[in-house]
Subunit: 455 residues, 2 copies
């Protein structure tokens, strides 16, 4: 088996259920709180934003949640995704480690995002909803939801962080090709957007602001619900299809990971590959190290505070307990736009707090260097977000070399970089540097955490 | 079976041989001629440009040519490619026709081009070559050869048509990420380039000029050979892996095409899907209509002359008999850059001359309209070249609707449009029109056909 490079499952192997890690946690995750009262919120509090099926998934403690057949039917177009053994990368690194990667870039929009966009569109359509509103940073999520909207005949309105809107016209074009509408955020369409523009007409936006705008549109229109591309429990759960497939593919390879590496922005890509393995470990299965890699310029897991915070800038969302840099924290303009979020998924934050995972922060330049090496050896050009996972896996492989250990490394290559070639151009031209953040700005943002929930 | 959407072969089903249609032709194709003498050329005449293994494939009359194991090993990364039934497109068209498409965009560079880039790099490496020179229009071929060069440790030098070089920086970045070198053509690096620049310093280049430059570099350097991404017999043969897989997948679907549709630039994508089916028909198998679709602005098959002509502008190549608009014909700047070539593969031209295939010319706007419909229904955004095949298939499906016939249509979706989103932006903004050509310029270019070979 050692020479085999690709491990493919058949269509009938597409998992029939998603995996809900809440069933296996040694300590339950802290509940979301109402920002006014500081009391736990119930399903009804979320009803203006989400259809009840998704709210029930958000709070479910069941281990296995059925994937509806129409969702599996859509998944079939590109799932199961391939798992590859990176023989050529191993050779280039001269490492005794075995490196495997799960490749999610084969989806129509080029990343793991459709894994949750499709069920979110399905459940909203089933609930009679006409329109979805959402935010997007780099554009991966906005194009994925637009794609899913086209399939289920839903209007999709995407608030795109203005700086990305201006820098990435091709992502906007992709949304429009799928029939979605893409609006630069902050916009004049919402009170949240107008408030920001009044204070700062030149605001280039942030994910936190775009979330405020999208939430406001959903809250104020009965036919419209809100869709989020990461962070929430149900979103992470939809992504577990990645790890569940990977478990079976590692079995095909006759192997099991010693280390799993994934990049973390909101946390769904990480949870997608890691949680099924972590759950197996929690139920007494094989041990495995799980490594989250994040950008040094937006280090919520390694430098944030584990505290209750808002998910958005205008403080319209419930409070969730997470590793956060503070909802007012505005990350610098590094290229991995999908990792530019002030917070981290509550479930990822929780397992980090429980000591079940490790987290490392990586610099931009070392990640692009890894992306180029990966392109030249494994032939897939990774998205800037995914280069973090590549670099993380390479670090583990080089450690194995130093220690003379033949460990098995598995990482999630969450998307291709076809829409991010400007970043590679900038890298080749020496225009990129190692972005960081201002310590005093971080301190200020953390000082602004809501007191109602943080004692 | 009718509800199934995806037809997947297993890795062991990757064909072990390519199919050479020369073995089944009722009349042999006219030989290439020496431009000086007008006499047929032999293998030795091609030796400065190609390694002998490829020259032998070029002239072989054997039906089945072994695919070397190292090439199959690389193919495994993305082959066999999926065959899809376009249920959602059929529904949108309300047609009784069944539409299938083979999807080649899953390759690392996003098109069918690696099918030949990989074996070309393999055979050159085996012959001790250090460097490959080539030309590229839209950049699909240049990035595919750069990708293959990285795998086999070959330098790759790509002459990219200057107008595309300026318009498509991301394709250049992709070549560089794979380690290739990309030069705007016409360039100062070659006598052919300098001659053009002397006459016209503002020349934006053409595929014919870029071929001249690449051929010159190969002819003058012992360690360098030339690689072509289409037109030649061996290139078309490498692409037949597409049609051979599709034949088995149609069998899995329990179906057989009544019509096959593919777009034609140099002809390799078309031949790739069509020749295995055409060969089966020529050997007494099922009947099938084969439809080549080309851009109305560069209509070599429908408006060109079947005559001996040069493959390049500087008249450095042998003469080949093909449907040609004349080597001096410069197509207008429509977006399907991969279809902007003055000639057509000799083998495709020959079967057209024998009446074995049909050809239709399509306008730019109707093709983009089809591309958007395809994106919204089948979720894949087609490359501008591929939109021609989509429109061609839709035309057949609408004819079936009119005639009340449930025919089976198969087309080749040769690549995704991730690097061509500017074209979609221009389309949405109403900036595109139906490009055409100047009749008097065409007449002049045709008047310039070499007399030595055309009596």
């Amino acid at each position: 088996m050692t020479d085999q490079t690709k491990f493919l499952l058949s269509e009938s192997d597409i998992p029939k259920t998603w995996y809900n890690i809440q069933a296996d946690l040694p300590v339950p995750a802290p509940p979301p709180l109402h920002p006014g009262t500081g009391q736990p919120i119930g399903p009804d509090d979320l009803a203006p934003l989400f259809p009840m099926d998704l709210i029930m998934q958000e709070v479910s403690q069941e281990r296995d949640i059925d994937i509806p057949e129409p969702v599996r039917d859509v998944y079939r177009q590109w799932r199961p995704t391939p798992l590859y053994r990176a023989h050529r990368l191993e050779k280039a690194l001269d490492t005794p480690a075995k490196i495997y990667y799960k490749y999610e870039g084969v989806s129509p929009s080029g990343s793991h995002k459709p894994n949750t966009a499709v069920p979110q569109a399905f459940y909203n359509k089933a609930a009679g909803i006409k329109r979805l509103s959402t935010e997007t940073g780099a554009g991966q999520w906005g194009s994925s939801l637009s794609y899913a909207g086209a399939l289920f005949d839903l209007e999709v309105q995407v608030f795109m962080v203005k700086v990305s809107f201006q820098q990435k016209p091709y992502r906007k074009a992709m949304m429009e090709t799928y029939g979605g509408t893409c609006i630069a955020s902050p916009s004049e369409l919402t009170a949240a957007g107008r408030a920001i523009l009044e204070k700062n007409p030149d605001s280039t936006g942030s994910l936190g602001i775009a979330i405020s705008e999208a939430v406001e549109v959903a809250a104020q229109n009965d036919d419209t619900k809100y869709a989020l591309g990461s962070v929430l429990n149900h979103v992470l759960m939809h992504q577990t299809i990645v790890g569940m497939e990977a478990m079976r593919q590692m079995e095909m390879a006759g192997d099991y990971p010693d280390v799993i590496v994934a990049c973390t922005g909101g946390g769904s890509n990480f949870a997608g590959i890691a949680f099924p393995f972590l759950g197996a470990k929690l139920r007494g299965g094989n041990d495995v190290r799980i490594v989250a890699v994040e950008p040094a310029a937006c280090p919520s897991l390694t430098r944030g505070k584990f505290a209750y915070d808002f998910g958005d800038t205008a403080q319209m969302t419930p409070l969730v307990k997470m590793h956060t840099l503070g909802a007012q924290f505005v990350p610098s303009g590094f290229h991995a736009g999908g990792l530019r979020y002030h917070g981290m998924a509550p479930l990822v934050s929780h397992v980090q707090d429980l000591g079940l995972i490790e987290a490392h922060a990586l610099d931009q330049l070392e990640c692009f260097e890894a992306g180029v090496l990966f392109g030249r050896t494994e032939s897939i050009i990774p998205a800037p977000e995914a280069t973090h996972a590549v670099r993380g896996a390479i670090k583990e492989a080089l450690r194995c070399k130093e220690e003379g250990k033949s460990e098995t490394i598995l990482f999630n290559l969450c998307g291709h970089g076809h829409f991010d070639m400007q970043a590679y151009i900038d890298y080749f031209e020496g225009k990129l540097n190692n972005q960081t953040y201002d310590e005093s700005e971080l301190a200020m943002a953390l000082a602004g955490l809501p007191s109602v929930a943080n004692g």
